[in-house]
Assembly symmetry: C2
Amino acid sequence: MESRCEHCIVRQFNSLRAMTKDELKKVSDAKIYKKVKKGEALFEEGQKLDGVYCVREGVSKLSKLSTNGKDQVVKLATKGAVMGQRSVIAGEHTNLSAIAVNDMEVCFVPKENILDALQKNPDFAVEVLRHMAHDLKEADDVIVNMSQKTVKQRVAEAFLYLRNNFGEDHEGYLLLTLSREDIANVVGTATESCIRIISEFKKKGYLSTSGKKIKISDEKGLVELVQGF
Amino acid sequence: MESRCEHCIVRQFNSLRAMTKDELKKVSDAKIYKKVKKGEALFEEGQKLDGVYCVREGVSKLSKLSTNGKDQVVKLATKGAVMGQRSVIAGEHTNLSAIAVNDMEVCFVPKENILDALQKNPDFAVEVLRHMAHDLKEADDVIVNMSQKTVKQRVAEAFLYLRNNFGEDHEGYLLLTLSREDIANVVGTATESCIRIISEFKKKGYLSTSGKKIKISDEKGLVELVQGF
DNA sequence: TTAAGAATATGATAATTATCAGTTTTTACC
DNA sequence: GGTAAAAACTGATAATTATCATATTCTTAA
């Protein structure tokens, strides 16, 4: 299903909302709609990107391979996120791989459209800057968490993050289901350690599960753990 | 000692080089030259900044207090760096504290000058974007290192970083001397652990010291350790 | 110059986390 | 529906890292 960017709701969540009608028309004419299946890569670390991807549906993990052979998930991108922006602006190869966590719909926007608008539309440039500034702050927070919190605290935080950013269904189960391995790669720990901690959380009543689905059953408990009680 | 931004060499290293003569003149007229003594704060986490700081001389650590009461150094800013940019652009309180690691000279530039130029000069906006994109990439790398490398590897990396970014004197001693505690806060570990690892590196011949000064005496050894041999 | 305080260093020990090996459960596909 | 493969789980153990206690060295200021 294709449609015009001008009417795309997703745009409201990202920097493209600062584009003029004319710029948006050009983007809409040039964009390429794409479906990406769960597990497929949108792009891989080290690749040169010819444009950015605007996420209409689904979730992608942005990860980087460490020298020890493990993947570290740096960020999860969902509806409204623009991926590849950093690399297109810097004119560098991407530092991250983007892999679909579930089935996705994205629009590929050629970099010329973005770079042109940056040069001609200060509002757009400032809007992109604001988003990047926000990302940078979040990255700083992640650095502090990674270095100063225990694995247990980070796992707890990950679940709170998943709930706050991707929501839960009417029964309270997290809408975004990640594999234990993916969670471990977000948290930066071994898969077994992650599993063990999840088991522990279940025993303590912080989490409960039903098949693959996970529910936060004691938010307060998790929050206190994160804060160090 | 004050002087005009137009003739300031430091500017060549940061986004201010993309300013027009006129913009630069305004900045130069408005800027406030400041000396900051070792250990003093330029600004503290949570503060609202009215402008940015351009570093002319000296080094500042940008750090964030963790909930466990420890400081995590997220970045070291030296000659040419612009501090506070992220927070001024996002219009948010700073997420980091800036503390002088040695005596510094900085110029404070009111935010109006920056925000005006962003709106009126696309070249400047794009240049700032490029810098921020670069910072973001570096932050991603730090996240991966923090989560996937051992403390020992991170300490080794820290010394290579200090040499590559701040240089060494004619005898090979690192020009930037950090306390063991500061190094620990960069690496994200306990001070004692950091000291122990430095002792071990000395025994293995990777490092040697003379009073407070530290010299990398076996770069290859350090590099191999970082890569996991 | 010397005494106090800070920084550096080391030892002993506990806590955390990773690794390896193996089992059970779930999923996907013929 | 049955089966092979993948994912989730558990136990035992080793490795890493933090913590606490204390000693030593270096700085600084009266």
